[in-house]
Assembly symmetry: C2
């Protein structure tokens, strides 16, 4: 009889707990959709500040703006964490054309890749060699590459449902194309934009020369998908056509910048830290609304929703707006280094850096037992149409926090439209839907609420210290 009563009590407790979780999550969703602040913040970041490339004036304005907004929330602490960041500037607008015969030219849309060398002042004009990727280039002898512009034209694979996979299958061309072509004596690199759509916008993004000597570093630029198709078609007709491009971007000295951090200190286990964040820097062509203004304002709103709903976290909640994800990851590296120095216990870190689209779920980087614990919460998310709870990557900025026992996670919004805007001039506020953004905030807050309430398996340092 005693056993039965125990069992009934246990069942009742579980059911009441599940009910109260469902109710609290409903409250979180309601306030995100009724009184969310993320869209208003994003409007300011995008339309009053704009593109926030590391080291730019706009990046510093964004630091000051978000710090002030976090201060207005009445968090327990708000601070700036200094970090030196690279400063690359685009210079005057790039210019390019295809020359079919002397004087007969067709303008095309290009943009310098982030970190690229400039062309000489007079630009570069040369014949082209089209390849579908780095392997194809590496199989060539120096003679066929030397003095030419290498045109990397492998498109993103449209048959992949997850567009990030399609991106992953192409981005090496952009990142390492110039390094590999430089080794073979090429004079420049043109890369098909990482965009599944055919349009006229070039998409920038980071590239690296590795430790290539300065003499072998050649300028590289992205070309719009429409113009990549055009160029490829013209090359098929006549491989002797020439390509001209001119860009005067430059890498300057590193400058001081900051991660912006806000905290609600935990009431029971203050040494267990839950971090939620996005990156405050963006590329310079658009205003960085999806990448990653959205993730920043959603993360800020997570803490605000805790306060608005009177949920006092047991564990310490931090919002971190990381600086310099796009071309250096310096902010994330610094944040993790300081955390390690201080012996901080980051039990959970969630990043939103996949656009402000309708959330579909989360990906997790964690142990089996932690994943099982998280899966047990999945039914709570069903009313909100979140269905994707899978092992996989988390986010570039939370990656350096990886420990032996903690949980890293990434918000997974619908990915179909993301690369239409990614790193291009149309990554702008009007491409973000208010409800979709707010649903992302609510999903993040709900997951953080559960992690805060239940902790994660096998990790409860403060509790152990108490015991």
């Amino acid at each position: 009889m005693k056993k039965i009563i125990c069992l009934l009590t246990l069942l009742l407790t579980i059911s009441v707990t599940a009910q109260s979780d469902a109710e609290n999550i409903k409250k979180i969703y309601n306030s995100a959709l009724l009184n969310g602040k993320s869209y208003e913040w994003l409007d300011h970041l995008s339309n009053q500040i704009g593109g926030r490339l590391s080291g730019s004036l706009n990046a510093e304005r964004a630091v000051l703006y978000t710090k002030e907004e976090l201060e207005n929330l009445g968090l327990d602490k708000v601070w700036l964490q200094p970090v030196m960041v690279p400063k690359w500037v685009r210079g005057t607008p790039e210019f390019a054309f295809i020359e079919t015969s002397p004087g007969e030219t067709t303008s095309v849309n290009i943009c310098a890749l982030g970190g690229s060398m400039p062309t000489p002042l007079e630009g570069i004009k040369a014949n082209l060699i089209e390849v579908k990727g780095i392997d194809e280039l590496k199989a060539m002898d120096r003679a066929s590459v030397e003095g030419k512009i290498v045109f990397f034209n492998r498109p993103m694979d449209p048959t992949l449902i997850n567009t990030f996979q399609a991106y992953g299958g192409c981005v090496d061309q952009r990142y390492s194309g110039a390094m590999e072509a430089g080794k073979l004596g090429a004079v420049g690199v043109i890369v098909r934009s990482m965009n599944l759509r055919l349009d006229d916008l070039p998409h920038t993004g980071s590239m690296s020369y590795g430790d290539l000597p300065l003499s072998q570093r050649i300028p590289s630029a992205a070309i719009s998908t429409n113009d990549a198709e055009l160029l490829s078609g013209m090359l098929a007709l006549d491989k002797n056509i020439k390509f001209y491009f001119k860009q005067n971007c430059r890498q300057l000295n590193d400058v001081q910048s900051y991660n912006v951090i806000g905290e609600i200190t935990g009431s029971e286990f203050p040494r267990e830290i839950i971090t939620v964040g996005g990156h405050l820097d963006s590329w310079d062509l658009g205003d960085g609304s999806h990448d990653d203004g959205a993730g920043c304002v959603q993360s800020m709103d997570v803490l605000r929703l805790f306060k608005e709903n009177g949920i006092k976290p047991k564990r310490t909640l931090r919002v971190v707006l990381f600086m310099n994800e796009e071309n250096g990851l310096r902010g994330a590296t610094k944040y993790a280094a300081v955390a390690k120095e201080r012996g901080e216990n980051h039990i959970f870190a969630l990043e939103s850096d996949s656009g402000g689209f309708t959330p579909r779920g989360f990906s997790f980087d964690c142990s089996d037992s932690n994943f099982q614990q998280i899966l047990s919460w999945k039914p709570l998310f069903k009313p909100y149409l979140l269905h994707y709870f899978e092992r996989g990557g988390s986010g570039a900025d939370v990656g350096p926090l990886k420990g032996s026992n903690n949980v890293l996670a990434g918000l997974r919004p619908d990915s179909q439209r993301y690369f239409d805007h990614h790193h291009a001039a149309n990554d702008t506020f009007d491409a973000v839907n208010k409800r979709e953004l707010e649903l992302g905030t609510a999903a993040m807050t709900s997951l953080v609420y559960l992690i805060d309430k239940y902790g994660i398996n096998n990790i409860n340092t403060d509790q152990k210290l108490k015991d």
Copy 2:
């Protein structure tokens, strides 16, 4: 031993079948994403033809265009099914303002609701009474309504995750508002647009006077959400402000139109009919890309994908482009009536009429046993991120095909952006993403493939006839 062999054979059969289903669905997705025709068709329907209100020249052009395109696919049969449709015309652009004092006016954006009476030539100017819905209006006495313009201002509920539910909770104001207000002697009706976003676009849609005598029929128009907020705010300050509006829409005599139908005749069970469709008519303000050009071109592409992939359906596949869903449902009613007359056995009918956004799954109107059969296929859709398989509505056009044993279904795309565009001037081609549209086509084709291959539980007329 014999039993074990039998069991192994069975298991092997099941696993081979499941594997080949998975492979065929992969083939379907690949060809939809690589060689889909839906986007190109939609471009033509939207940009070369445009809005296709029933009875308009554009609607007839759309009939001819889609018939020709279906003929080009080499289907077994393509035909037009005649149907008489209502013809309502908007006339010259509507005009409205708020008058705070004589001569002091603020223009607002309105559009006549479909089916509305015109105002007198000189327009209507009157005081307003704001209500949050029909119940609130009905509770009022005639004296407080008579001679006034009734302003229905209940917003869509933003806390509902499924925006169609939020629409369902408001649309009675638009559909029956003028009828109810007319009974109480109001002179006009202004309805807040069915839009979750605050913007300047009025959203039209159907309304009805029921059997109200002509003398009580008053003009009704939708006002943009921004202007609804403005009007409500101004009324709160001064309930004596006046509202003026003018519209010269008219209901003309019914005209001849058509459902457009194409068919691949089934190779084994030709008398079992599987129908897939959308509605070819649209409202007149935008070009009807999401509502429901998308559903039409997706449905057309379902049959094309069968042919392209060399899948010969066992059952008869029909694409039906229904005429007049928006303001009469005459096409759907006619199609079902003819089907009944001919004793046709419609085992399955799938409609896409919720926009061309990323598909999330399907809703089904069917028996338990049929639903269980469908749920057993759900794992096949997981790689394509389809997760929503629920009982519920299907689609307005397939509704009249409801029988005692058949299965009706509706494609369920992400609904967050739908009402930003629905029935408004921004329901245009640029708001449709090619991949999202194509993923919907692939999802529909895959479901039709499974229904065709396995039939539906308890219904196999042809097979029974064969036996």
